[in-house]
C-alpha cells in the first residue's frame, strides 16, 4: 500500500494537474521525434520527476515503467571502490551522481560515458537514442559538471540527457547553455487545493477547504509535503475537522524552537546550547541553508526594523561564507553570535530609553 503521494502520481503528460501548457509542449516535443538535452528545474515538490517520467512514457511507452534497481561499482583513481545505485528500464537510466560524494566525477566519466557510447541494440525501438536522467545535478562538484559538458556534446546522437535541478544557479553556464531549460514552478495554492481535493475524491474522503488551505500553508507550496501531510492528517483523525492539528515535520519544529531560544537569552552558555541544537539539525540532514532560512524567518518575526536589516545582512554574510567554507557549524554559530550581540545591544538601548 503506497502512500498517496505515490499512489496518485500522474503517469501521462496529459493527466498532469497543472502547468498544462507546458505538458502540451512536452508532448509535441516528443512527437517531433527528436529533442535536445533537457533540464527540468524548479523547487522541491513541484513535480519535476513526475514530468520526466511522463515524458519518458510518452517517448517509449509503458515499458519505461518497468524499473529495476542496479548497483554499479566504480574504482576511483585512488583505488577506492564506490557503489552507485541506479534505476533504469530498457530505455533509460536514472543516476544520481552526487551519491558518490566527492567522487562524482568518476561516475560521470565512467558510467555516463559508457552508457552514452553504446548504441541502442534494437533498431526497431521507438527511438534511436537512450535517455539518461541525472538527478540533483546542482549538487555535483564543478569537476563533475565540467566532465559532463563534453559528454553531452559528443554523444548527442546516441543519447539524451535529462537533468533534474533544483536551482540553476549552481549549474555551470556551459551546461545550462547545452540544455533546453524547462521550468517547473511550484504549484499555486489554488492548484494545490485542486490536487488535494482530487486525491480526496479518489480516496473517498471529504476534505474541508479550510483544512486544505492550512495544509498548503504549512507545506510551503511543496505539493509532495502537502499530500503527505494530508494523509497523515487522515491517519490521525478522520473525519476531518477544519481546525484539527496538522502533523508538522519534526525538524521544522526543532528549528523554530531553536530560534525562540536565541531570542529568550543572549549569553555564551545559551550560545553553547544553541550550538548543540544546530549540530542536531545538521546531523538530521537539514541543509544548512535551510537552517539559515528558518532561523532568519523566525528571528526577524519579532524584531525591530533596525535589527531586521542587520540580521539579514549578517545572515547573507555568513551564509555566503558557509558556502565557501568547510564546517557549516562555524558559520551558523557566528551568525547566531552576531545576532545575539546586536539583539542584546538593542535590548539594552531600549532599556536605557525606557529609563529616561
Amino acid at each position: 500500500m503506497a502512500l498517496w503521494v505515490d499512489k496518485h502520481r500522474p503517469r501521462e503528460l496529459l493527466k498532469l494537474d497543472y502547468h498544462k501548457d507546458q505538458a502540451e509542449n512536452l508532448k509535441n516535443l516528443c512527437q517531433q521525434g527528436d529533442f535536445p538535452h533537457l533540464m527540468f528545474y524548479g523547487p522541491s515538490g513541484a513535480g519535476k520527476k513526475t514530468r520526466i517520467m511522463c515524458l519518458l512514457r510518452e517517448l517509449y511507452g509503458a515499458g519505461v515503467e518497468r524499473l529495476r534497481n542496479e548497483t554499479m561499482t566504480f574504482t576511483t583513481p585512488s583505488n577506492r571502490k564506490i557503489e552507485i545505485m541506479t534505476v533504469g528500464s530498457n530505455y533509460h537510466l536514472e543516476v544520481n551522481p552526487s551519491d558518490a560524494g566527492i567522487y562524482d566525477r568518476v561516475v560521470v566519466i565512467d558510467l555516463i560515458k559508457q552508457v552514452a557510447q553504446t548504441h541502442q541494440i534494437d533498431p526497431n525501438g521507438q527511438r534511436d537514442f537512450k535517455v539518461i536522467v541525472l538527478s540533483e545535478v546542482d549538487e555535483l562538484t564543478k569537476d563533475a559538471q565540467h566532465a559532463l559538458r563534453r559528454t553531452m556534446e559528443k554523444y548527442v546522437a546516441t543519447c539524451r540527457i535529462i537533468l533534474s535541478v533544483n536551482s540553476t544557479s549552481r549549474v555551470i553556464p556551459a551546461i545550462r547553455s547545452r540544455c533546453l531549460g524547462i521550468r517547473v514552478a511550484a504549484p499555486t495554492p489554488n492548484e494545490m487545493i485542486s490536487v488535494l481535493q482530487a486525491i480526496s475524491k479518489r480516496e473517498n474522503i471529504s476534505l474541508p477547504l479550510e483544512l486544505a488551505t492550512r495544509i498548503i500553508d504549512k507545506s510551503e507550496r511543496n505539493l509532495r509535503r502537502a499530500i503527505l501531510m494530508l494523509e497523515a492528517c487522515k491517519v490521525q483523525q478522520y473525519p476531518f475537522t477544519a481546525q484539527q492539528d496538522i502533523v508538522e515535520l519534526d525538524w521544522q519544529v526543532f528549528l523554530r524552537e531553536t530560534a525562540n531560544q536565541i531570542l529568550t537569552e543572549q549569553s555564551p552558555a545559551k550560545l553553547e546550547k544553541v550550538r548543540d541544537r544546530l549540530y542536531e539539525l545538521l546531523a538530521q540532514g537539514v541543509p544548512p541553508d535551510v537552517i539559515f532560512q528558518g532561523l532568519v524567518k523566525e528571528l526577524v518575526k519579532n524584531c525591530d526594523m533596525s535589527i531586521k536589516a542587520k540580521t539579514l545582512e549578517y545572515a547573507t554574510l555568513y551564509e555566503h561564507r558557509m558556502q565557501n567554507g568547510a564546517k557549516h557549524i562555524f558559520h551558523l554559530e557566528a551568525f547566531v553570535a552576531q545576532f545575539m550581540n546586536i539583539y542584546k545591544k538593542f535590548i539594552a538601548d531600549a532599556m536605557m530609553m525606557d529609563d529616561f
Binding site: 515538490g45 509532495r224 561564507r321 553570535a337
Partner: protein
C-alpha cells in the same frame, strides 16, 4: 713486558751515563724478564721452520730484485744454518751464515748477539748503498773513525767492565771484513745510523757543493745498483734476514697493554692535512684503532712511505724498511705517545706532564728517540741466550746516547771536541724539555669516551631512579619474574584477573608490558631485573626486523636454546634454563618488515615457555590494543624532579662540574622529567664549560629554551594557553602563533569547542560582543582552512593560525570556567555522515517508487513512511503485520530499513515509534517479511553490512535464527538470477552483484536455488509492472 724494558732504558738514558751504577743495578731485573721472553721465542721458532722458510725464500727473492733466482738451492744451506742456529742459539743471524768462521770462532756467541740487532739494518743498508766504491771506501774509513770515537766515548761514560771487549770486537769486526758490505752489516746499529746521517757528508767529501737532496736520490739509485752488485753470499744473507723478519712478523705479539693509554679527545679535524703511517705493534693501540683515530680527526693513513708522509708511527717490531725509507724522506718517526700528544697539541689541549716525560728528555728529537726505541725493541724480541742478556743491555745503553751526538758531530765536521758536543746536546735537551712541558699528558681515563648516560647507568636495581619501594614497578617486575616458572609450570590453572583488581601480581600473564615515556628507565629496569634474578636475556628492539616470520622462526628457536654462558664463566649450574625474551620498543613494530609482528608476538606469548618482557612508550596506541590484553601491565611514570636532581647532582660531583641548582631544575623540567635527556643536556653544558667558561650561563639558558620549545603540547594544554590571560603576559605574538601549530588540524576545533566556556576579562556587558567577534574570526578561519585543504595552499596556515587561534585568544583572553572538552564537531560530523548514508540507502531502495530527491526523502518522506509502517503494528498488533508488510513491499524496503527510518526521524526527546510495538509483533513482522519478501538486488549487500555492524537491536536477536537460514537461500537465488540474466544486463552490474553474492556465506544448495530463481523472476517482473 715491553714497556718495562723501555722505561728501564729510558731511565737509564735519562741518567745519561752520570749514574751508570744505578742503571746497572736495574739490569738484572730486566734480564730476568727477558729470559722468559726468549724462552718463549725459543719454543715458537722451531715450531714451523719449514713453512716459514719457504715463505722467506719467496720473499727474499722478490726483495733481491730477482737476483736470488740465480741461486740453485737456496733452501738447503739455509736449512742447515737454521738447524745450526737452533741448536746453538735460537737467535740466528744472517751474518753468521755469511761468514761462519771469523765471528763465531773469534767471539763465540757474542757475535750472534750483535747481529741479532742487525737484521733490519742490512736492508736499510742495501738501499743506501753508494754507487761509488771510492765513496764507499772513504765512508767506511770515516765510519770506522767514528765508531772508534764512539766506543771511546762510551767507555769514558760507562765504566762497566764488560763493555770494552765488546766494543773492541765490533771494531775488529769492522776492520777485518773483505767486503765493505759485510763490514757495514757488522756494524752496530748505532753506526748504521751514523752512516745514514753521514752519507750526505761523505758526498761532500767526494763532491763538494752537493745539495742535501741530491744524496738522497743518489742513494736511491744506489739501492738498485746495489742489488745487482750483491754477491751470492750477500743474497743469501739477505734472504735469511728477511726470513727472520718474517718469522718475527708472524710471531709478533699483539698490543701489549691494550687500552693502557688514554686516547685524547681531540678537536675534530685536528689532524687534517697530516698523513700517517702505522708500522709495528703499538703499545696500547691496535693498528686498526690507530688508523681509525687518525681518520676520525681527518688525518690520512698511508700504506707506503713516501714524500707526502708526515709522520711514521712506529711501534715495536716496526718494519725496518719503512723506518729506513722514513729516514730517507725525512719523515718524522714518532711513537704512539708522540702521536697521542700530537692530537692533544693540535686540538689545543695541554699535553700533560706525566712520568713519561723524563724518559723522553734525553733524546734530541722524537725521531732519534724512536729509532733508539725500535732498536731496543728489536733486541728484546729475538730469542737470546740468558748469558748474553747482560751484554745486550749494555749495548743498548750505549746505543742510546750516540744517536744524539752524531748529528752534532756532523755539523762540527768530525773533529770537534766532545765537550762541545755535550753542550749542544744539553741545549737541545732543554729545548725539548720546554716543548714537552707545553703538552702535558692527560690522565689515563678510558671512560671519558663513554656518554654520561651510559657511564652513569644504574648497575643495580637499587640505583634505578624512582623505583624503590614495594609497590614500585621494579618490585612488581622482580616478583612477577621470579615467580614466573612456578606460575607457568603447566600445573596451575590461573584465573584471568579482574582488570580493576588492585594488587594483582600478574601471575596470570606470561608477558609483562612496561610502558611509559622515553628516558625514564624502562629498558634499564628490565635488563637489571633480569640480571639480578640470573636470567639470560634475548633482546629484540626496533633495530631488528620483527616480522611475523622472524618472530616465528628465530625467536621461538632462540627460546628453545640453552645458554652456554655458565660454561664459560664457570658457574656451577652450567646450562641455565632461565631465559627472558625482551621485546623492546614494541610500538615501533611497523612497516612492511614487521607486518604481523604484534599478532605473532601475541601468539608467542600464548605459547611461550619463557617470560617475555615487552616495552613500549604509548600503551594506548592503536597497535598496542591487542597486545595489552595478554600482558601484565606495568606503567612507568616520570620520576619526580627531585629524584632526578639528586642523581644528576651526584654525576656532576663525579665529573667535577658545578651547576646552579635552579639551572638544574630548569633543565630537568624543560626535558619533561626525562632522565636521559637531562643527563645529555648536562653533558652538553659541561662540554661548553670546558670550551668557554664565560658563555656558560647564556648557553644553558638558550639550551633550556630550545628544549622547552621542542616539547609537544597536547591540544588541551594548547587551548588552555590560547585563552589564559596569565600566559598571554609572557607570550610574544610568535609564541601565540606557535600554539596553533602544535596540532593545526585539531587546534581550531578545540578553540571553537571551548571558547564559550571562557570568561573573558573585562565588563560583563561586553562578553557577548567578544563572543560575536570570536565567532566571526573562527568563521573566517574556517574559510582559510577550506582554501588550504582544497587548494593545498599550505602557505596560508599562518593566516589560519591568526584567525583560528590568536584572534580568539585575544578577544576572549581570560580564564576557563569549565572543563575543556574534546571538540564535538568530529563526533557530530561522523553521526551526520552516518545518517546521510542511511538516508541514501533508503532513497536507493525506494527510488523505483518515489520521485523525490535524497533530501526530500529525508526531510519529508521518512517520518510519514515510518508512520505508515508502524501505525498498523501499534494499533492492531499481530493483525497489523500484514498491512505493514504490504507497505514495506510496496516501497521495496528491507527489514533493516525500518531501523534506519527510526534513526532518521528520531529527535532528542522524541520517543521511537517502534517502542510502542510489542516484541512479539516485531518478531512476527520479521518472520513474515522473511517468508514473503523476495530478494532485491541490494539485499545481499545489506545483509552483509548488517552482520558486520552487529545489529544490537532486540528485533534482530529474536528473528536472527530464521534470518540466517533464509538469507542463505535468498543469496543463492540472487546469484543464480545473475547467471540467467547476464546477457540482459550491464557488465558492471554483474560484477557488482556477483561480488556481493559471493561475499556472503551462501552455502545452501544451488540446485534448489536455481529452480527458485526461475519462479522469482517473473514475480519480480510482475511486481515492477504494478
Amino acid at each position: 713486558m715491553q714497556p718495562t724494558i723501555a722505561s728501564f732504558f729510558q731511565k737509564a738514558s735519562s741518567s745519561n751515563g752520570s749514574k751508570p751504577k744505578e742503571a746497572e743495578a736495574k739490569e738484572p731485573k730486566k734480564r730476568k724478564a727477558r729470559v722468559i721472553s726468549s724462552d718463549e721465542d725459543d719454543e715458537v721458532v722451531p715450531a714451523s721452520p719449514h713453512v716459514s722458510k719457504t715463505k722467506h725464500s719467496k720473499k727474499s727473492k722478490t726483495e733481491c730484485n730477482g737476483s736470488g733466482t740465480s741461486k740453485t738451492s737456496p733452501t738447503s744451506p739455509k736449512k742447515l744454518k737454521l738447524d745450526k742456529l737452533k741448536s746453538k742459539s735460537p737467535s740466528k743471524n744472517p751474518s753468521t751464515a755469511v761468514k761462519p768462521v771469523d765471528p763465531m770462532s773469534l767471539f763465540g756467541g757474542e757475535t750472534k748477539r750483535i747481529e741479532a740487532k742487525k737484521p733490519p739494518k742490512p736492508k736499510d743498508r742495501a738501499l743506501q748503498e753508494l754507487e761509488d766504491d771510492d765513496i764507499d771506501k772513504s765512508l767506511m774509513e770515516i765510519d770506522l773513525e767514528e765508531s772508534v770515537l764512539e766506543t771511546t766515548k762510551e767507555k769514558s761514560k760507562n765504566d762497566a767492565s764488560e763493555r770494552p771487549p765488546k766494543k773492541d770486537k765490533n771494531k775488529e769486526e769492522k776492520h777485518t771484513p773483505d767486503h765493505k758490505k759485510i763490514k757495514e752489516e757488522k756494524r752496530t746499529p748505532t753506526e748504521v745510523k751514523v752512516k745514514e746521517e753521514k752519507t750526505p757528508r761523505s758526498k761532500k767529501h767526494s763532491s763538494a757543493g752537493h745539495d742535501d737532496e741530491k744524496p738522497k736520490s743518489a742513494r736511491k739509485s744506489s739501492a738498485d745498483l746495489d742489488s745487482s752488485i750483491l754477491t751470492d753470499e750477500e743474497r743469501h744473507e739477505r734472504k735469511r734476514m728477511t726470513a727472520i723478519l718474517y718469522q718475527k712478523y708472524k710471531n709478533r705479539s699483539s698490543v701489549i697493554n691494550h687500552g693502557c693509554k688514554e686516547v685524547p679527545k681531540g678537536k675534530p679535524n685536528c689532524l687534517a692535512g697530516l698523513t700517517f703511517l702505522v708500522t709495528g705493534v703499538l703499545e696500547s693501540l691496535e693498528r686498526d684503532e690507530a688508523c681509525s683515530i687518525i681518520k676520525e680527526y681527518s688525518g690520512k693513513v698511508m700504506t707506503t712511505v713516501g714524500k707526502r708522509l708526515n709522520y711514521l708511527i712506529a711501534g715495536e717490531d716496526s718494519g725496518p724498511k719503512k723506518l729506513a725509507q722514513a729516514d730517507e724522506f725525512n719523515v718524522k718517526i714518532i711513537t704512539e705517545d708522540d702521536f697521542l700528544n700530537l692530537i692533544r697539541e693540535k686540538s689545543g689541549m695541554k699535553v700533560e706532564n706525566g712520568g713519561h716525560e723524563d724518559n723522553e728528555k734525553p733524546t734530541t728529537s722524537p725521531k732519534k728517540k724512536e729509532d733508539v726505541k725500535i732498536k731496543k725493541e728489536k733486541h728484546s724480541t729475538p730469542p737470546e741466550k740468558k748469558h748474553k742478556m747482560e751484554e745486550i743491555e749494555i749495548k743498548k745503553e750505549k746505543l742510546e746516547s750516540p744517536p744524539e751526538k752524531k748529528p752534532k758531530k756532523e755539523e762540527l765536521n768530525n773533529n770537534k771536541a766532545e765537550t762541545k758536543i755535550k753542550k749542544e746536546v744539553q741545549e737541545e735537551k732543554q729545548q725539548i724539555k720546554s716543548v714537552k712541558e707545553e703538552f702535558p699528558r692527560p690522565p689515563p681515563v678510558t671512560e671519558d669516551m663513554m656518554a654520561w648516560v651510559d657511564k652513569y647507568k644504574p648497575t643495580s636495581v637499587k640505583e634505578i631512579i624512582g623505583q624503590q619501594g614495594p609497590a614500585s614497578n621494579v618490585a612488581k617486575l622482580t616478583n612477577w619474574l621470579s615467580k614466573w616458572y612456578v606460575n607457568h609450570d603447566g600445573k596451575k590453572k590461573l584465573q584471568k584477573p579482574n582488570p580493576w583488581a588492585k594488587n594483582d601480581d600478574g601471575s596470570f600473564y606470561k608477558a609483562a608490558l612496561l610502558s611509559g615515556p622515553p628516558g625514564i628507565g624502562k629498558t634499564t629496569t628490565a635488563t637489571l631485573v633480569c640480571k639480578e634474578l640470573g636470567f639470560d636475556t634475548v633482546e629484540f628492539n626496533a633495530s631488528d626486523t620483527r616480522s611475523k616470520r622472524l618472530l616465528k622462526e628465530e625467536v621461538s628457536e632462540l627460546l628453545s636454546n640453552k645458554s652456554l654462558y655458565g660454561y664459560f664463566y664457570g658457574n656451577a649450574q652450567a646450562v641455565t634454563k632461565k631465559h627472558v625474551l625482551i621485546m623492546d620498543e614494541v610500538d615501533g613494530m611497523a612497516g612492511n618488515e614487521d607486518r604481523g609482528g604484534i599478532q605473532e608476538l601475541i601468539g608467542l606469548i600464548k605459547e611461550s615457555s619463557v617470560p617475555i618482557i615487552c616495552m613500549c612508550n604509548d600503551r594506548n596506541h592503536q597497535k598496542m590494543r591487542s597486545l595489552v590484553n595478554y600482558c601484565y601491565d606495568l606503567r612507568f611514570n616520570r620520576p619526580q624532579l627531585k629524584q632526578i636532581k639528586g642523581r644528576i647532582l651526584s654525576i656532576c660531583a663525579k665529573e667535577n662540574i658545578k651547576l646552579d641548582s635552579t639551572k638544574l631544575d630548569e633543565i630537568i623540567s624543560a626535558t619533561n622529567n626525562d632522565i636521559r635527556q637531562s643527563i645529555n643536556h648536562i653533558s652538553l653544558l659541561s662540554a661548553g664549560k670546558e670550551l668557554n667558561l664565560t658563555s656558560d650561563k647564556k648557553l644553558s639558558k638558550e639550551e633550556d629554551k630550545t628544549a622547552q620549545k621542542d616539547l609537544k603540547m597536547g591540544p588541551w594544554d594548547v587551548v588552555r594557553k590560547v585563552f589564559s590571560a596569565d600566559e598571554h603576559k609572557t607570550m610574544s605574538f610568535y609564541d601565540k602563533c606557535d600554539l596553533f601549530f602544535h596540532d593545526y588540524s585539531l587546534a581550531p576545533l578545540f578553540v571553537q569547542q571551548n571558547y564559550l566556556i571562557v570568561s573573558p576579562a573585562g565588563p560583563k556587558s561586553e562578553v557577548i560582543s567578544k563572543v560575536a567577534n570570536t565567532a566571526d574570526s573562527l568563521s573566517l578561519g574556517d574559510l582559510v582552512d577550506k582554501k588550504i585543504r582544497s587548494n593545498s595552499a599550505w602557505a596560508l596556515l599562518p593566516t589560519q593560525a591568526i584567525f583560528s587561534s590568536v584572534l580568539p585568544g585575544e578577544y576572549m583572553s581570560g580564564h576557563f570556567t569549565g572543563q575543556i572538552n574534546f571538540p564535538g564537531w568530529l563526533g557530530k560530523n561522523s553521526r551526520s555522515t552516518k545518517r546521510s548514508r542511511l538516508a541514501q540507502e533508503i532513497h536507493d531502495h525506494t527510488r523505483v517508487k518515489t520521485s523525490g530527491s535524497r533530501l526530500s526523502i529525508r526531510l519529508d518522506y521518512a517520518p510519514f513512511l515510518l508512520n505508515k509502517i508502524v501505525k498498523p503494528l501499534v494499533d492492531k498488533g499481530q493483525e497489523g503485520v500484514e498491512e505493514s508488510l504490504e507497505t514495506l513491499k510496496e516501497y521495496h524496503l528491507l527489514r533493516e530499513d525500518i531501523e534506519s527510518l527510526i534513526e532518521l526521524s528520531s529527535w532528542p526527546g522524541k520517543k521511537s515509534p517502534m517502542d510502542a510495538v510489542d516484541g512479539k509483533v516485531k518478531a512476527a513482522l520479521t518472520r513474515a517479511y522473511n517468508k514473503e519478501v523476495l530478494a532485491y538486488s541490494y539485499s545481499a549487500t545489506a545483509g552483509v553490512k548488517k552482520k558486520r555492524a552487529e545489529a544490537s537491536d532486540d528485533l534482530d536477536a529474536l528473528g536472527g535464527g530464521m534470518e540466517e537460514g533464509e538469507e542463505g537461500t535468498t543469496n543463492a537465488a540472487v546469484e543464480s538470477e545473475d547467471e540467467n540474466d547476464d546477457n540482459l544486463e550491464n557488465d558492471g552490474l554483474i560484477k557488482a552483484k556477483k561480488k556481493s553474492a559471493s561475499s556472503t556465506k551462501a552455502s545452501t544448495s544451488k540446485g534448489s536455488a536455481a529452480k527458485k530463481s526461475t519462479t522469482t523472476k517473473p514475480k519480480a517482473a510482475a511486481k515492477s509492472k504494478k
